[in-house]
């Protein structure tokens, strides 16, 4: 086992920020049910509302526009569920609005939910992207019609990091009088944004991508936007999400956002520098690669590279043995026969998609980490290529 450990999979999840960890430990004492009227209940309620204010302030929303949910996936499911809900007693959408318009590079929690609706008789449109992962805005516009319930376009992509022209898309959707949702799970903490400035109706967030705890997400719901709960039951979250609050998760989420508001810009600048150094180093030392994602409109921490003739799971596991932790879009790693749907949607050949590695950096990474990766990676790729049926010195 390698002595040096380099974690470069921050888009998968992040370690807790030390300040978040400390505050969580301190706050574990506040066990009360936030719905209880007595003192322990009130103490928990107070901390939850503080977190809500913190998150609302950070994204430019009002606290009452923030609903805590179990994950980013739940936030996304909750919004898409509006396309299925409806009827005279529902605060949701008209029963005539049953279509979902989304993109081909969304997270599986949006894609699979949309496909599930299709199987139930609804219509879903999956808009194509260009080779950099940018959504075809014209096709998006043309797909919106009177039956559209929700238009959902992710802010920043988890695999390739491409950032969409969200403001332009939101304005177009507003103009077409449809409702607009964005999955901002990967954008939070990496791209500064303000929900009022973006003019979106719904926006999904998650804590564990920003050095907060797992199992807690949030949904921004613009005041006045149609809404119907996804989980029915108690009156928690003003009737918008039943189930006793994950109070510890919420405390940690609030703290993570508070830390973000202080450290985000400086961290991103430093992380961007490291990412660019890694990118330049790989380009210089390894031939026959393909850079995935947009060259400029990309989150500062993400670098997705395909290595021709080398399969991703093999690369990932040789890197694991060297103490470097990354992810791949290869099919082998997912247990299916198809490689990353995101890379295929950008028009990348399947063989390049199988050989893709995502480096996603974070606040703990250092110059030495990047040097270590640049020292370990080239021989790993060379070794795999030597035993490859596909790679013969740069030619297929």
């Amino acid at each position: 086992m390698a002595d040096r450990k380099v974690y470069m999979d921050y888009n998968a999840t992040t370690p807790l920020h030390p300040e978040v960890q400390k505050s969580l430990i301190d706050n574990f004492a506040y066990f009360g049910n936030p719905s209880s009227m007595h003192e322990p209940g009130r103490a928990a309620r107070h901390l939850i509302e503080e977190s809500r204010v913190e998150i609302a302030r950070f994204i430019g929303a009002s606290p009452e526009e923030i609903v805590f949910v179990g994950s980013g996936s739940e936030a996304n499911n909750t919004v898409l569920n509006l396309a299925k809900c409806g009827g005279p007693l529902c605060r949701g959408l008209s029963p005539n609005n049953r279509e979902i318009v989304t993109t081909s590079i969304e997270h599986p929690c949006v894609l699979d939910t949309s496909r599930c609706f299709q199987r139930q008789g609804s219509t879903a449109h999956f808009i194509k992207v260009d080779r950099y992962g940018k959504v075809d805005i014209q096709e998006l516009e043309d797909s919106i019609n009177d039956s559209t319930a929700i238009v959902s376009v992710m802010f920043a992509n988890n695999e390739i990091g491409t950032i969409q022209n969200l403001k332009e898309i939101a304005a177009m959707v507003r103009n077409k009088k449809a409702l607009f949702h964005t999955d901002a799970v990967q954008a939070l903490g990496k791209v500064p944004f303000n929900v009022k400035d973006l003019d979106v109706d719904y926006l999904s967030l998650s804590a564990h991508k920003i050095y907060g705890p797992k199992g807690i997400g949030a949904l921004y719901i613009r005041k006045g936007a149609p809404f119907c709960p996804f989980i029915h039951g108690g009156h928690q979250e003003t009737g918008r999400r039943a189930g006793t609050e994950n109070s510890f998760g919420i405390y940690g989420f609030g703290k993570a956002v508070e830390v973000l508001s202080r450290e985000m810009d400086e961290n991103n600048q430093r992380i961007r520098g490291l990412r660019d150094k890694l990118k330049a180093g790989i380009i210089e030392s390894i031939p026959d690669i393909h850079l995935n994602g947009h060259p400029e409109d990309v989150v500062p921490n993400t670098l997705n590279v395909s290595f021709m003739g080398a399969e991703g799971e093999a690369i990932l596991l040789y890197m694991d043995l060297a103490g470097i932790f990354v992810s791949t879009g290869s099919a082998c790693a997912s247990g299916s026969l198809d490689p990353s749907h995101v890379l295929l949607a950008t028009g990348l050949d399947a063989e390049y998609a199988h050989g893709s590695i995502r480096f996603s950096l974070g606040r703990e990474n250092t110059e030495e980490d990047v040097d270590y990766v640049l020292q370990q990676l080239p021989p790993i790729i060379e070794r795999i290529r030597k035993m490859s049926t596909v790679y013969q010195g740069g030619k297929k």
Binding site: G309, E311, A314, C332, G335, A350, M387, S388, Y391
Partner: protein, 198 residues
């Protein structure tokens, strides 16, 4: 803090130190060569053998694939050295999986490729040495009882370009009566597409 891999220690060892990688094909002067797999699906294997007195004297390989593809081809190349051709012909994916200390369910198709590549190499040797009569067709298994369609028929249909269940039905008429064979047929379609698909 070393947590267990999804793979066994034996497999991990073969992945870390693969045996018998083919480095110089021209210098090896193979007596038989077989290639199977499909890069689009993420696995491709090539096996070359040297044969003397009907015994595999040497076996080398190249593979494009995941850790278990690399390790299972490495293991196969070790196992078949010194084996009589007839014996090597019968090496099954399961034999390799057992030697490797087990494989995750979804990875079994990787070692399936290793034995098929070997069989293709042996067949190639039979062809080159004018022993075509020794090339064996595997016994066919009936998949669709109603229409009497075998796995070989499905394999042939996939080789001819069938890629969806519907195309398979059109080609072979399987599953057009009671429909009970659908799952089995789709599994095979998947497997053969992996082997022959583009």
């Amino acid at each position: 803090m070393s947590q267990d891999w999804v793979y066994s220690d034996i497999l991990k060892e073969h992945f870390m130190n693969p045996k018998n990688i083919l480095e110089d094909e021209a210098a090896f002067k193979a007596d038989g060569k077989g290639s199977v797999g499909n890069i689009k699906c993420g696995d491709q294997m090539m096996v070359v053998i040297k044969v003397e007195n009907d015994v595999i004297k040497d076996c080398k390989w190249k593979t494009y694939g995941c850790a278990s593809a690399i390790a299972s081809t490495s293991m196969l190349s070790e196992v078949v050295k010194g084996m009589k051709l007839d014996e090597a012909y019968k090496v099954s994916p399961k034999d390799i999986a057992v030697k490797l200390g087990g494989l995750p369910e979804n990875k079994v198709h990787c070692s399936v490729l290793g034995d098929k590549a070997l069989r293709a190499a042996i067949d190639d040797y039979f062809k080159r040495s004018s022993q075509e009569h020794r090339i064996q067709e595997e016994a066919a298994i009936i998949i669709c009882q109603c229409m009497n369609v075998t796995d070989k028929d499905i394999e042939a249909a996939v080789k001819d370009g069938a890629r969806s269940y519907e195309e398979l039905q059109y080609e072979t008429k399987l599953g057009t009566v009671c429909g009970q064979c659908k799952d089995k047929a789709e599994d095979l379609l998947h497997q053969y597409t992996h082997l022959y698909g583009e």
